[in-house]
Structure formats: C-alpha cells, structure tokens
Subunit: 312 residues, 2 copies
C-alpha cells in the first residue's frame, strides 16, 4: 500500500491503521518524508494516555499487556501497543517474539501492536519508539502501552517518558533486589505484583512497602499503589486500570503532569537535535569523520577537538 504525504496527513488522524503502520515504518527508516508528515501531525498529539510497562524478564509482561488491552477495549477505548524489543539481529528473535504476541491481542478489534527492535547504536531505539508513540497518539488511540523486554538503562529511559509507569514484579525471584539494581524503582507510578497466586506475594508486597517508606516523600507526592494481578487468569486487571486512571488524574490535578511533560519535551528536543546533527555529520561530513577518526586512532588529534571542529 502506497500513501502520498497528503494521504498520510489525512488518513493517520482518521485512524486508518494501514496508514499508521506505513508512517511508523517510514519513520523507522529515517525517511525525510516521515519527518515532514510527523511535523504536520504533531498538533494532533498530546491526547493519549501513554502507559509504560517494564519489569524483569519472565514477569509475564506480555500477557499482562494483552489483558490490559482487552479490558481497555471493553471500556470502549482504542488501544495501541509498542513492544520495545532489543533483540538480536543475529538470531531474528524479534520476529518470533512478534508472532508469539500477535496470537493474543491482535485478534481483538481495536488493538494495534507494533514491535520496535534495536535500531543500531546512538539512541536509535529510543527515537524510533517515541516516534511510534507520537504517531499512534496522532492517530487517535486513547491509550498507548509501551512495553519493554530488556531491563537496562535504555529501557528505563524509554519507559520514563510515559505518563504512567507500571513496574511488574513477581514473587520469589529476588525481584525486589533486581528492581533496585535496574534503577526502575523510582520510575514506578504503580507496582504490579503479577503471578500473585504464587507463594511469596505477600512478602513481596511488604518489601515494596518498606522500600517506598525509605524514599523522601513530601505530602503532595504520589504514593505508588501496589496492585496484585494474575494475568493468565485475567485477575486484578480492572484494579490496575483504575490505578492507572487515578495516576493520570493526579498528574492533572497536582500540576505534576505539566512539569513532567515539559521536562520530557525538553529532552525530546535535545534528542532530536542530536539526531539531526548525527545524520548531518554522517551525510555531509562522512569523509572528514573517517579521516579524523583515523587521526584520532593514530593519536595525532583527540576526539573532543574533532567533535568541536565538526560542530563549528
């Protein structure tokens, strides 16, 4: 299916899912067209509730996200899912993961799933993901769920750009400790204890409460609720959705949502500037970069001076 720029600008906000898919692909491929269309569509964004879901591997995030999607649909919402999957190009794992996922949520009308695999170094994954979120937002999805597979710094950075972050833990996996290690504790707006029918759910609940008590909390701060779910049995999903809604309401009434969006927008602008600059260097100054890098390796010059010169 081919779309002209004008068609994309018209069809994406009209929730034409083929146009949405096409624009995300164009944007992933860093097409200049995509940028033009996205700039035009930007005014349509800012309406969706962006929910980030992260947690340790094996915590059941995919199942939970599928259940969330089904429930939002029952509530009459349009739901998009961005699955961030920094999977090896070597083994083609992303494709498999995608197929496995599609068998669940994609059967339902109104769920649109997009997997983002690693796009090389230099923050490509984070940019591609935020583009996909923005496009879905412009397309009129009420809820966009961003789910990460990894648990590292890049994944945390992606999820913290969401309005509301669900951190998913499971009992009996030393998860309390792992969550701290991965630095995901302070980004949690809602804690989810999934597989809560397993032994150790109450102990984990207690651990989280203790950890939350350690933080510096002023009176006006949001205190993350802890929701128990059994995603495979669809238990606790309604409560989780309510917790997410409460958080969104708090963002608005407390004014913290505006602060958060301003901070994220500043970061987004700087990242976009990085991106433009990186492309400009590679496209317009590729030969100079190559030569300078060789000079650096021979220690004739240092990288900081080269970078400074390229910027000038």
């Amino acid at each position: 299916m081919k779309f002209s720029n004008e068609e994309l600008i018209q069809k994406v906000p009209a929730h034409d899912l083929r146009a949405v898919a096409r624009l995300i692909t164009l944007s992933e491929n860093r097409s200049a067209r995509a940028r033009e269309v996205q700039s035009k569509l930007f005014e349509k964004t800012g309406r969706a509730h962006i929910i980030g879901v992260t947690g340790s591997p094996g915590a059941g995030k995919s199942t939970l996200v599928d259940q969330l999607a089904s429930n939002y649909i029952k509530l009459g919402k349009k739901v998009g899912i961005v699955a961030v999957d920094p999977t090896s190009p070597f083994t083609g794992g992303a494709v498999l993961g995608d197929r496995v996922r599609m068998s669940n949520a994609a059967e339902l009308d109104g769920v649109f799933i997009r997997s983002m695999a690693t796009r090389g170094a230099l923050g490509g994954l984070s940019r591609a993901t935020s583009d996909a979120i923005q496009i879905m937002d412009a397309a009129g999805f009420d809820v966009v769920i961003v789910e990460t597979v990894g648990v590292g710094q890049a994944e945390v950075d992606i999820v913290r750009t969401a309005d509301t972050c669900f951190v998913v833990l499971v009992p009996g996996m030393g998860d309390g400790v792992q969550a701290i290690k991965a630095g995901i504790l302070e980004i949690a707006d809602v804690f989810v204890i999934n597989k809560a029918d397993r032994e150790g759910a109450d102990a984990l609940h207690k651990d989280i409460r203790v950890l939350l008590g350690l933080g510096d909390h002023d009176q006006e701060a949001w205190m993350p609720p802890i929701v128990k779910t059994v995603a495979t049995k669809a238990e606790g999903i309604g409560e989780l959705i309510e917790a997410g809604n409460s958080h969104r309401e708090w963002l608005t009434t407390s004014g913290r949502g505006a602060e958060r969006r301003l901070m994220m927008m500043k970061e987004h602008i700087i990242k976009t500037a990085h991106d433009i600059l990186g492309e400009k260097i590679i496209l317009d100054h590729g030969k100079e970069l190559e030569k300078s890098a060789k000079d650096c390796i021979e220690r004739k010059v240092d990288p900081f001076s080269v970078a400074q010169k390229l910027l000038d």
Copy 2:
C-alpha cells in the same frame, strides 16, 4: 587531595592512583578542566586491553571479575575495573554494591576499581564510562575490565565498545534464551559458562554451540570459544585469560581490530559532538529551550522545527 591541571597531566600517566581517581571524578562532574586534561592525555591512550564483561544478573560476574583481576596481577599486569551500575539514586544501592565489591579485589595491590552509577538521561552513563576507560588507559593499566550490572541496550552498547567481550551465562536459568533476548549474543567474543559445576552446564554448552552454528560465519571470522569456570573456586580463570589473549591476537592479525577501533572512534566522535551540543543548548539557550518546549506542549510548533532552529 587537590591537583592542578599540570599535575594531573603529569601524574595520571605516571600511574598515580589518587590523580586517576580525581580526574575520573572531575570528568563525571562534566568539568571543563577534565576535558582539557583528557585532551592532553589522549595521546597516551590506546595501549590497554579493554575487556567487557556482561551477562544476566546472578551469573556471578563480580566474583569472576575479581578472579580475573587477581590472575592478571599474578601475571604482572596492572588491572583497572570499571563497574557500570545503573543503580537507583533513590535507594543508594550503588554505594552498597561498591562496598561489597571492594572487600575482594581492592585488597590486592594493583587493582583499581571504579563504580559508575547512572548519570541522568541522554547517554550520560555511556559517556562517563568511556571517559573512565580512557583515563585508566592513559594511566598505564595493561588491562581495563568493564563490568555491567544491567542487561539492557545501554549496557550492551557500553560493552561492545570493548576490544574483547566476555558474555557470562550460568546453567539452568534459561540463560540461552535470555542472552538472545538481551541482544548480547552477537557481541560475545568469548562465552563463559560460570558455576559450571552445576547441573546443566553441558546442556548450556550445547545450546551455545547450536546458536553459534546458526550465524553467518565466513572463514576468517572469529569463532567465540566457550570457557567453563567456577569463579568461587577460581577454576577456569587461566583458560579464560588465554581465550581473551587469543582474541586480542586475532584482532591484530586479522585486521579486524583496526576496523573495530575505527568504527568505535567514529561513534565516539559523534557522541562527543552530541554531548557538546546538549550542554551548549542547556547553558546558552536554556530559556529559549524552555519557551520552545512550552510552545511544543501547546502544539504551536513541533519539536523537529525547534531542534532544527536550535542547531542553526
């Protein structure tokens, strides 16, 4: 201990560890002084063997790295360790992790350990880590071991800048699959099966061989060896060091080392340019950024146009 720039430029290459520690701290704090000193010291770099160590949480990486360090010292090498620990500022986990580590390797003469915690968003961790490696390299360390705690994209990006990457797996944790998921398979130059006295070590060995067989390998490519270790009993460490040395030799003889260093240097230059640009925007155009971000939130303008304008 205070050092002037001149003292740092003199004492770091003379392996004065207090000067090394000081310069790394200055560099972490993004001091302009650090940059000047590092530019001067850059010509002293490029001699150390940079070894990256990554793998799932609980794989015993810290113990393995401590054992590696002890063994390199017995071989008369100077060893530095950079522990990349994206730990929560909320719980202060980094400090604890550091203390636990120090009890082992730091007792030995000649091991210098530095923990790098998360330095905010926008790739700060990656930059701080590569600065620390460069400073240790300039200080005459023969081997610099970079160990990551997380298993996400940022950690993978950091480790792949090393000359030689050790990927540590353990039997019976579904690690084969986790390694693929985290995208660390294709960065492995040496596979380490740690805790190899556990059940499942042979099965894991077989799994890795099968996965390696799936890749596209030309005749001249490096075939990653698989080394079994029991770090807690100091078993297999000598073999692992030999595998690392073989890989380094191959990098030189095959010419792949030069290619790899060129690619990494180009990325490093672009990242440095990003960094300079980001600081420039925040320092010199902070107010404009703030105003533009607000305009973006009100959808009066789009972030791409703002970024483009800031660049001009």
